[in-house]
Symmetry: C2
Subunit: 246 residues, 2 copies
C-alpha cells in the first residue's frame, strides 16, 4: 500500500505546524502543493522533491500526487491551514478511488479561523459558523441563506475568502445580510497574513466592517450578541460567572 | 511584563500539538490545567511545576495561573484542542484585566472538530457550524435555535459535548431538530477519543445517529445535503468538477 498524506501546514509560520505534520514532511520523498504554500515550507525541508501547480489546477495537482505515489514514493500534499477545511482532503479522497493501491491519510492543522482567533483574543469561544464568501464553487443564494441563518441564530461568524478582485463588494453584501439580525455595534475583527510577515489585526463594529475593503489574505470575525472588547482584544464569553465557581 | 500563555495542546497525542505549543511548554516554569489534560502532557515536559484544578473550577484555575505569573514565573495554561474553542482563552483574557502586569498570549491548537474530521475523512471541507449541546452555561432554547438554523441553511454541523450523565437524551433531541430540515439519510460520523488510546470512528445516517448512545469523549459530525461516503470515509465535496479543471 502506498501512503499519501494530505497535510495542513497551519497559517504559514513553520512553528504553527503540528509536530506530526513536520514529521510527515520530513519522512516523505515528494511534497506537492500550490506554489505559494510550497514556498512557505521549502526552506525547512531541504532535499525533498517539490511539485507545484498554480491555483485552479486542483484536480491535476491531486493526480500528480497519486502518480508520484504509484512510483513507490512517499508523497505529501500540503494545504495551508487545515487540509480538511476548504482544503484538499476531500478531493484527494474522491480522486483516490481511482488509485486503490494508495491509502490517503489526513493530517489536521490549525485553520485560519483558529489561528486568527488567537491573534484577536478569543472570539470563537462559543458556537460559531464558518462561511466562505467565494461563489466560484457555491451558488451565491446558498451563501446568502447561510449568512442569514447564522446571524439569526446568533452564531459568531467567521468569513473565509471575504473578497477578491472580481468580488470587491461581497463583504458589504454579507454585512448587510447579517445586519438583518445582528446589531450594528456587534464587535468584529479582521486578521490579515495570519502567522506570516505583515500580520495585522483590527477591531471594529459590524457597521464599520461593512464599509471596509479587505484583501483575500484576510479572515473576518463577526461576534455574537455577547462578544465584547476586553483590553483591546475580541472576546466571546462562554457564560462563566466571574467571582463564583462556574 | 509577565507573560502567560494559553496553549491548545490538540486532541491529546503529543505529536498533534503544534511546534509552537511544545516550545512554549518547554520554555515555561509552570503548567496549569484541568487534571486530565495535565496528565496527557506530563511525561513530555519533565521538571516543570504542574498545577491542576478539577472541572468546574475554571475561574480558580485562571486566578492560580495569574498568581504564579505575578511571582515572576513563566506560566502556561493548557486546554485540550484549541484554547480558543470552548477553551480557556476567553476567561483568561477577562480575568487578565485584574492583572495588568500580565500579558496573555493565545497559542492555537487543533480542536476536536479538525482532529476528528481528519479521522473520518473530510466532512468539514465546506461551510460548517460548531455547536455545543451542553446547557450548563447556555440556555437550551438558544441551542435549539442554532440547531434549527444551521440545519435549515444546510451547514455541515459538528456537535461538541453531545452527551453526559444528566443529558443522555440531548443527542436524540438534537437529531430530531436537525431532521426538520435534513434528510434521514444524511451521512453522519462519530469519532471517540480523538488522538488518544481507543480512537474509534463510525459512519451512519442521521436517522441511525438519533438512536445512538454516545459518551462525552465523542465528537459528532452531521453532513450537509452533498456529504457522501467515499471508500468508507465521510467526504463533503467542495464542488470541484471531476475530470475537468475547477
Amino acid at each position: 500500500m502506498n501512503r499519501i498524506y494530505v497535510v495542513g501546514i497551519g497559517p504559514g509560520e513553520y512553528e504553527k505546524m503540528t509536530i506530526q505534520a513536520a514529521k510527515v514532511l520530513e519522512s516523505c520523498d515528494v511534497i506537492v502543493g500550490y506554489t505559494v504554500y510550497v514556498d512557505l515550507v521549502k526552506e525547512h525541508f531541504a532535499g525533498k522533491e517539490f511539485l507545484t501547480t498554480p491555483m485552479k489546477q486542483e484536480v491535476k495537482r491531486c493526480e500528480m500526487a497519486f502518480e508520484e505515489a504509484m512510483k513507490g514514493k512517499t508523497v505529501a500534499m500540503i494545504c495551508s491551514g487545515d487540509a480538511g477545511v476548504y482544503g484538499m482532503a476531500g478531493l484527494m479522497l474522491e480522486i483516490g478511488t481511482r488509485y486503490p493501491e494508495c491509502q490517503v491519510e489526513v493530517v489536521a492543522g490549525v485553520t485560519a479561523a483558529l489561528g486568527g482567533a488567537a491573534v484577536l483574543g478569543a472570539p470563537l469561544i462559543h458556537d460559531f459558523a464558518l462561511i466562505s464568501l467565494s461563489d466560484l464553487l457555491t451558488p451565491w443564494e446558498k451563501i446568502e441563506k447561510r449568512l442569514l441563518c447564522a446571524a439569526e441564530a446568533d452564531f459568531v461568524i467567521c468569513l473565509y475568502n471575504p473578497s477578491s478582485r472580481k468580488r470587491h463588494d461581497y463583504l458589504q453584501k454579507a454585512c448587510d445580510l447579517m445586519l438583518t439580525y445582528k446589531a450594528p455595534e456587534t464587535v468584529c475583527g479582521l486578521v490579515s497574513n495570519i502567522g506570516r510577515e505583515g500580520e495585522l489585526m483590527q477591531l471594529m463594529t459590524l457597521e464599520e466592517l461593512r464599509d471596509m475593503q479587505v484583501d483575500m489574505f484576510t479572515t473576518v470575525f463577526v461576534g455574537n450578541s455577547q462578544t465584547m472588547v476586553v483590553d483591546g482584544r475580541m472576546v466571546t464569553p462562554r457564560g462563566y460567572k466571574m467571582g463564583e465557581q462556574a
